[in-house]
Every structure is written in C-alpha cells, then in structure tokens.
Symmetry: C3
Subunit: 207 residues, 3 copies
Amino acid sequence: MQTFIFIMDIMGVIVFAASGALVASRKEMDLVGFGLMASLTGVGGGTLRDLLLDRPVFWISDPLPVWICLGIATLIFFSAHIIQRRYVVLLWADAIGIALYGVMGAELARQSGAGPLVAIVMGMMTASFGGLIRDVICNETPLILGKEVYATAAALAAAVHIGLCSFGVPFEISVFSGIGAGFLLRAAGIAKGLALPTYKARPGRDY
Amino acid sequence: MQTFIFIMDIMGVIVFAASGALVASRKEMDLVGFGLMASLTGVGGGTLRDLLLDRPVFWISDPLPVWICLGIATLIFFSAHIIQRRYVVLLWADAIGIALYGVMGAELARQSGAGPLVAIVMGMMTASFGGLIRDVICNETPLILGKEVYATAAALAAAVHIGLCSFGVPFEISVFSGIGAGFLLRAAGIAKGLALPTYKARPGRDY
Amino acid sequence: MQTFIFIMDIMGVIVFAASGALVASRKEMDLVGFGLMASLTGVGGGTLRDLLLDRPVFWISDPLPVWICLGIATLIFFSAHIIQRRYVVLLWADAIGIALYGVMGAELARQSGAGPLVAIVMGMMTASFGGLIRDVICNETPLILGKEVYATAAALAAAVHIGLCSFGVPFEISVFSGIGAGFLLRAAGIAKGLALPTYKARPGRDY
C-alpha cells in the first residue's frame, strides 16, 4: 500500500510541477525560475501535509520528486511554445492534481489517526496549497478565487475516499473513486462553468 | 490550566474563522470556499505556532476547531447579508483574535521554555499569521499594512501577559490583562485611527 | 564547525532583516511594523529550512537572532532617510543574504543526510523564502519574478559548496567559495542586468 501511495504522490508531483512550469512560462522566467516554480508547486501540498502530520517531508530523504520537478521544468521550458493554449493545459493539470492530493492528503491524515472531518479538511488544504503558493508568488489570481467549483472538487475527492473506506470498500477502489469524483467535478467546472451558488452581496448595502 | 488555554484557543478560532468567512463573503465565494477560508484563517495562527514550537498541531487530533470553523462559515454564508457593515464586523472580529492569539502564542512559547523576547515575537507572529494568509489568498490589502496600530496591539497583548507572569501575577489575571490591553489598543486604532509615528520617506529623494 | 555555521546564520539574519526593514520603510510602517517585517524576513528562510529538516527552529531556544532583527529594525527606522537610494541598498543586502542562505541551507540539508540534489534545492528554497514572504506581505513584486538572475545565484551558491565539499575541499573554503560565487552572480544581475535566456511566449498565440 505504501508503494501505491508513493505512486499517487509522484503523479501529483508531476501534474502540479507541470502547472508550476506553465505559470513560469506565462511570467517569461528563465530555466532556473521554471525549476523553482515547478518544485514549489510540485512538492508544496505534500510538504504542508507532512509538516502538519509530523511525518518526515517526503522529498527530503528521496530526491526522486525533485528530479521529476526539474525534469518537467526543463521539458516545458523547451516545449511550451508548441502548446496552443497553455493556460487551458495548466487548468487541467491542476485539476488532476487537486483530485489526487485531495485523496492522498485525506488518506495520510486517516493513517495518522485523524477522524473523517480532519482528514477531509486536510485533503482540501493540501490539494489547494501547491496551487496557492504558485499563484501567490507569481501574482496570478488564485484559482480558488474563481467562480467555478475548485475547493469543492478537492473536498469531494477526499470525502468519497474517506466515506468508501469507512464502508470497507477495497483501498484501490476507494482511491480511484475519490480521484475520479473530484476530477469530474472540477472538469465540469472548467468545461461547463459549473459553480455552486455563491454568496451575493446586496448592491449598495454591504461593504 | 490546559483547559483554560484550550478555551482561549477556541475563542480565537471562532473570531478568526468569522473574519475569514466575512472575507469570503466579500469575494462572493461559494459555501465550500467559505469553509476553506474560515478554516485557514481560524486555525492558521495556531498551526504556525505549533509547527514552530514542535508541538502536535492542535486541530489534527481534535476535530472540534475544524467543526467550529465550518459551522461559522455556514452561519455566515446564510446570514452575512443581514449585517449592515460586514467589513467593520470583520475588523472587530480580527481585533479580538489578535489580542487572544498574541497572549496564547506567547504563553505556549513560554511553556516550551522560550525566553520573554522570543515569547513576545511568537505572540506577534502567530496573532498576525491567520489574518495574513486570509488577506494574501484573497488579494485584500493585509491589515498589517494599514496605518493604524495592528502588530503593536498583538505585541502589547503578549508583552503584558509575559510581564505580569514574570511578576508572579495569577495566570488568569495576566491572560485577561494581556487580552484586554491588546484589544483596547487595536480598538483605539480602529475607532479613533490611533497610529504610531510612521517612517516618512522624503519626497523626491528616496526610492 | 557549529560555531562557524551559527556565525553565517547570524550574518544572513542581519542582511535579510535589513532588507525587511527597508521594505517596511518603503511602505511607511511604524516601528513595530519595522520589527515584524525585519523578523519575518530575517528568520523566515532559516525557519523554513529547520521545519523541513525537522530540526529545532534556530531562534526559539536562542533569542539572539530576534534581538538582532529588532535592533536592525530600530536602527533603520531612525536612519533610513540618510540613505540616498534605499531600494538599491535593499537589493544588495538581499544579494548577500541569498548567497549566505543558499550555502547554509544546502549545508544543513547535507548534514541531515540529504543527497546533493535535495541539498541544492533546499539551499535555493531557503535562500528565496525570506525575501518572498517579505515581498508577498508588502505587495512588492517578488525579486524572484525579475528578469535578472536571482534563484540561479542561490542555486549556484549551494551547488559550488556541495560540489567542492564532495571533492574534499576544506569546509571554510567551500563555504566562502559558494557564497562568493552566488554573490558575484547576483551582483552581475543587479549591476549589469545579467539574465539567463527566458522563455518567450509567441505573441498572439499563447495564453
């Protein structure tokens, strides 16, 4: 099971690193800047999760995630001009990432003995964190401020996994169900503009 | 005493969660966005404090603070339109929060064996941190950049508590004195615009 | 050797604290705001490093770094108007800081058993982190987004030190070589506008 979790972690690193490198391309950074943004975004969410759960930070003892981030940064530095619509690719990479980390953050919190609510909130926070530092550092509007479902997708991924686990569903099935549910919800947000009802300020009254 | 500290922590969570949810309302987020902003702001300062002092993060083992954040987020999502002036309520909730966390951050640092100066700086940092991430994520101007006393109020709350403690004043009295002093100073900042003399750049010279 | 590392840490604290206080002066903060910005910037990078490596945070047990930050904040609050061009001084203080922390972050990661790649990335991250929170909190454009070499200088400082160490070069020599190389590279960036080739979006196509 630890191998399985490691593979999921690495997949999350890959897609978030790609989203970080794509933001670096939008800011016209140099190659090292690509590497730094890919690394911060790629390992950011997992790092926060490990710090909060008091686990050893996953990329300190094993450099593989960092190599992956730097490799993806290099790849995108030399190839991003081929991509027709970089921002759209960034959105979809980010969508896969939040579904993956939503489930993985929740699962590792569960393994550390946290209850279901804390596990789901941990999933939501670690899924959003990498993208947040990416957007805050680069002065982009954080995706989490968009009108389309975002944090909800991460929360759904975590909740589906935690819920199915508690019903005794086999581990791989609950993981993939969680990732699928979170990704599909976010996909509906990106492609169809699906949004939950938002709070509406009354004009001329609230400030 | 640990019960007393826990109650103070929970009160800090409540007011900061409310300020986070109110910022979410200003950004017209959906219900999950309210929950995330309330959680990040509500537990942010205490989380930083626990990480720095190498204590277990207070909301991981006990989900109560997270339930409170989500409850307050829901409450404010459905009721914020009733509040005439949401930004003012946000300011006052934040003011109570920085006084509470200024004292609590300093107290927990003191219990961990830190000297008075480190305790006061810890109080100031943890009091400001929740509000900072709230404002940075949501692209609001951080309150700490305002002209009115802000960090000073948190520092005063911490210093009064640490000072009275070192004179052997009973614990509850020094805690409430610290909270009272910090809150009153910040209140004078909000209500009367009280400000310390600021650094003034000479026009046309410094850049 | 631990004394030597402590001295390097303190020097890094000094120059980053000065850069934080200078940003506070650009924002016309009050004295406590100067102290908070100097402290956050001065100890920020080292704090992240210690959290990631699971070491005790260096300024919790020993208040000297915090005293230094507050002393420098006070000094700059009362003297910054004497400096003709504050932003330039800020740039150079920051340049010394990233070279110092680039090497120190890498060295402490190495001592914790990290491999060369992780050590270099750790150096790059901890060198950039203090300046990043300084710029993000104060709404300045992060220096890391500038066109001139920045992260590259920190990475070079770390890489030179780690590289020379692995060839058995005496510790002090490899440390000073790393700091010198990183500082000179960043200096060429500040003074001559030296920049690596950046990614260029094709106009009218990428978005």
